[in-house]
Amino acid sequence: MTVARFLSHPWLTIRMQLALGVIFIAAALPKIVDPPSFAHMVYNYRLLPGAAINLFALILPWIELLTGLCLALGIWKRTAVFIVAAMLIVFIAGISINLARGNAIDCGCFDVSVAARTREQRLDDMKFVIARDLGLLLMVGQLLFAEGMQREFSQGNDVSLPI
């Protein structure tokens, strides 16, 4: 019960919410500034049809930015948390598929410039990215858990995440 109380404590929740928001804003900005480079990264994943790559590369960073802002500013928090969770699952799946294929790629998560690295370095970095995204997914889990606990205490009333 102590662990549950700690995990749902507003002190922790607000910090998780702010951290996730800032992380997604930081991830979005380089992609918004240089869409062609991000499109190149998306192409390297070899997951989308050619016709969808530019569209995806244009819109995804703005979704990251807006959901990050929603989290940081406390607007539509629950929806933003779900969107962030969905994006993280897609990112983990994308990297994992390419890792399984042995296709060494740059993640394009926070930096869209092509790094001069070896194949082994890229593969190692992909494993790190998966671990990092799983960590972010845990942060999302904490927010949802805290929201559920808050809801329980409120006896079924629709309550937003604590601030």
């Binding site: 918004i32 500034v33 240089d34 869409p35 062609p36 480079s37 499109a39 190149h40 192409y43 049809p49 050619g50 016709a51 790559i53 530019n54 569209l55 590369a57 244009l58 819109i59 960073p61 703005w62 979704i63 930015l65 807006l66 959901t67 929603c70 539509w76 629950r78 929806t79 933003a80 779900f82 969107i83 060494a104 092509v114 001069a116 194949r119 629709d158």
Partner: protein, 255 residues
């Protein structure tokens, strides 16, 4: 849980993101704009542009591999799967280098971008020799070449195209090379303008990027192949190998 409210909010966020992306892309500079109509990495079917008919070199028939007509009806009905995709079947298609081994010293000649011409095909000096050593390959989009071969072609004044981002091009490129970034929105305009210059489609054109895993030069080659440039050579080592071999480079927006 009010699912409907969350769905409406999520759709609103996505719609707002799409609107922001559209506005930002519309206001973006040429180098940072993306073409939504473009299909990345897909080889377009080969078709002649009507604006400027392709000029065929009068010497094309001298080269056995190019003896077929450049008639689109013929070329657009390839006989093998590799020609349908425009991707070379094997890298071993690289032509042999019977000529003297070139030195790694600084090339004397700079490939000069030619001016548009509507009357005769633009044939760079030395391209005839280059065409003999590197014959056209109309059934595959590109053939990969190595550093010595690139240096030899450079000395012959063959056109070099830089497929990297313009900002990277401006930081340093092969002297005389033209910026043709496949990731920027004006790439189709550039390739069609190159086509419109009436260049000899059988003459070698070298595309390069950053070497290693870089595929930009291959993608550019496929675009050019779609416009009946039948002799695009991809310098696999790219700019890093070029400078690593002690060859000259130039910075700035000018070729």
């Amino acid at each position: 849980m009010n699912y409907r409210r969350h769905i409406v909010e999520a759709l609103t966020l996505v719609a707002a993101a799409a609107l922001c992306a559209t506005v930002a892309n519309g206001l973006a500079s040429r180098e940072r704009k993306l073409s939504l109509a473009a299909s990345v990495g897909v080889v377009s079917p080969r078709k002649e542009l009507t604006a400027a008919p392709r000029s065929t070199s009068s010497t094309a028939a001298e080269v056995p591999a190019s003896s077929d007509s450049m008639n689109p009806a013929v070329s657009s009905t390839p006989t093998s799967s590799s020609s349908q995709s425009g991707i070379p079947a094997t890298v071993s298609d690289v032509p042999p280098a019977p000529g003297p081994k070139p030195s790694a010293s600084s090339p004397a000649a700079t490939p000069s971008p030619t001016t548009p011409s509507t009357t005769s095909p633009v044939i760079p000096a030395g391209s005839e020799n280059a065409k003999v050593r590197f014959p056209p390959h109309k059934d595959v989009a590109y053939v990969e070449i190595d550093g010595p071969q690139a240096e030899w072609l450079y000395k012959k004044g063959v056109l070099f195209l830089d497929a990297r981002r313009t900002s990277v091009y401006e930081a340093g490129h092969i002297p005389g090379a033209l910026p043709f970034s496949v990731w920027e929105s004006d790439i189709d305009q550039k390739t069609e303008a190159l086509y419109g210059e009436g260049r000899d489609g059988e003459a070698p054109v070298v595309a390069y990027c950053s070497g290693g895993d870089c595929e930009d030069s291959h993608m550019l080659a496929q675009k050019l192949w779609g416009l009946f440039f039948n002799n695009v050579l991809v310098y696999k080592g790219g700019f890093p190998e070029w400078t690593g071999r002690g060859n000259p480079s130039k910075s700035g927006p000018q070729p």
